[in-house]
């Protein structure tokens, strides 16, 4: 059973890695922000499965912290990208 959970964690990690290759390359800021978003979610899934598979109950607490801070970081990224266009335009409808 534990082997299955670690296997599932490895599989999701591989999927996240493939997605990262795509999103980090861009072309736009939107894709790069998707990279952060994808890793936030996938990372939590890997962490929880891995924690359950190797018997580390604290993984749930780390997941909780990650969920909160990933939300914060994603928002900061969107806000930063919206603020920093070279043409100086602002995203006003946030």
């Amino acid at each position: 059973m534990n082997a299955f959970l670690v296997l599932a964690a490895s599989f999701i990690l591989a999927m996240v890695a493939l997605g990262l290759v795509r999103t980090l390359r861009g072309p736009g800021d939107a894709e790069r922000m998707m990279a952060a978003q994808l890793l936030g979610t996938g990372g939590i899934a890997v962490l929880l499965l891995q924690g359950a598979g190797s018997g580390m109950p604290a993984a749930v607490d780390i997941g909780l912290t990650l969920a909160l801070l990933a939300a914060f970081a994603s928002i900061a990224f969107v806000k930063g990208a919206a603020r920093s266009r070279r043409d100086g335009s602002q995203l006003t409808d946030l």
Binding site: L39, I62, L69, A70, A71, F72, A76
Partner: protein
């Protein structure tokens, strides 16, 4: 199963790390760095260091990424000019040789580490009952090496003073950073209203469990700081002027109480920062609870930067 998961994780971590160095655009490099931080948290879990994983998740993924992103956003206007600046081939060569030396040296150190490894784990286990804490890392941080932790808080305070001192004279005492604007009925403001109450509960929970499980004042303070920043970014709250007295008090409350408890140890116990065994846990909690407020305020102010608006505005 073997080392499949580990090797995959390492390839991913190092790939993202290399990409962070090589990326052409700074914004992309910053996103890469935040991604790298999140992945490192997974590495720390695999190294059976959940406390460090929690710190890495809080700092590497969240705080440092946000800090660097703010800087990248402000510097974006100069980026085309800066990107034209390239180091010469000779410098790349020197950098490559030095990097290879560092890698080779560390790799050799890893391969020739003494076996069996020297360890302080039994010493910690033997003395842990004195602190009545179940989490050995908290015991080390708050009792056995409390001096390090005290000085770490002083470093945070000094960094804040250093950041503030960069303000021009006429802005001294003003509010840091720009006033953020957002549509008060938009999705952003909605999230900034919904998330902080949850974050505050989780933050205090992370400190509360740190007695016996992974957690701690710093990680908890980081979550609170992030929630504060979220409210500020959504325009729901404004950064306080740095001359405000209650703010200054919040900044020093944590280290001050730590120092007082330490001096009390000199008087009642055996040495500076020695806790009487009967009160060890109570004293550690008395240090940690004000400390999360101090850490949250300090981190928030470090992220916000030096005062940028004149006092009274």
């Amino acid at each position: 199963m073997g080392l499949g998961f580990e090797v995959g994780l390492i390839v991913l971590v190092l790939g993202v790390g290399a990409w962070t160095i090589a990326a052409r655009e700074t914004f992309a490099a910053v996103i890469g760095f935040a991604t790298y931080g999140l992945l490192l948290a997974l590495v720390w879990v695999r190294l059976s260091a959940p406390d460090v994983a929690l710190t890495e998740a809080a700092i590497g993924g969240g705080l440092t990424g946000t800090l660097l992103l703010g800087a990248a956003a402000r510097l974006r206007a100069t980026e085309p000019a800066d990107a034209a600046e390239r180091s010469g081939a000779a410098l790349h060569m020197v950098a490559g040789v030095l990097a290879a030396t560092v890698t080779g040296g560390l790799a050799a150190a890893v391969l020739f580490l003494p076996d069996p490894a020297p360890t302080l784990a039994p010493a910690v286990a033997a003395n842990a009952p004195a602190t009545t804490l179940g989490n050995p890392v908290t015991s080390v941080l708050m009792a056995f090496r409390a001096m390090d932790t005290l000085l770490e808080k002083v470093v945070l305070l000094l960094a804040t003073v250093g950041v503030w001192s960069l303000a021009p004279d006429r802005l001294w005492g003003g509010r840091p950073g720009p006033r953020h604007q957002a549509n008060p009925d938009g999705v952003f403001a909605f999230l900034a209203r919904l998330l902080p109450p949850v974050g505050i509960v989780v933050g205090i929970y992370i400190l509360w469990v740190s007695a016996d499980d992974p957690g701690g004042a710093f990680q908890s303070g980081t979550i609170l700081a992030a929630m504060w920043m979220l409210a500020m970014m959504a325009g729901l709250a404004d950064a306080p002027p740095v001359s405000r007295r209650s703010l200054r008090f919040a900044l020093i409350a944590g280290p001050l109480i730590f120092l007082l408890v330490g001096l009390g140890g000199l008087w009642l116990g055996d040495a500076f920062l020695s806790y009487p065994v009967a009160y060890a846990k109570a004293l550690i909690l008395a240090i940690e609870f004000p400390m999360i407020l101090t850490i949250a305020v300090t981190l928030g102010l470090l992220l916000a930067g030096p005062p940028e608006r004149e006092p009274g505005r």
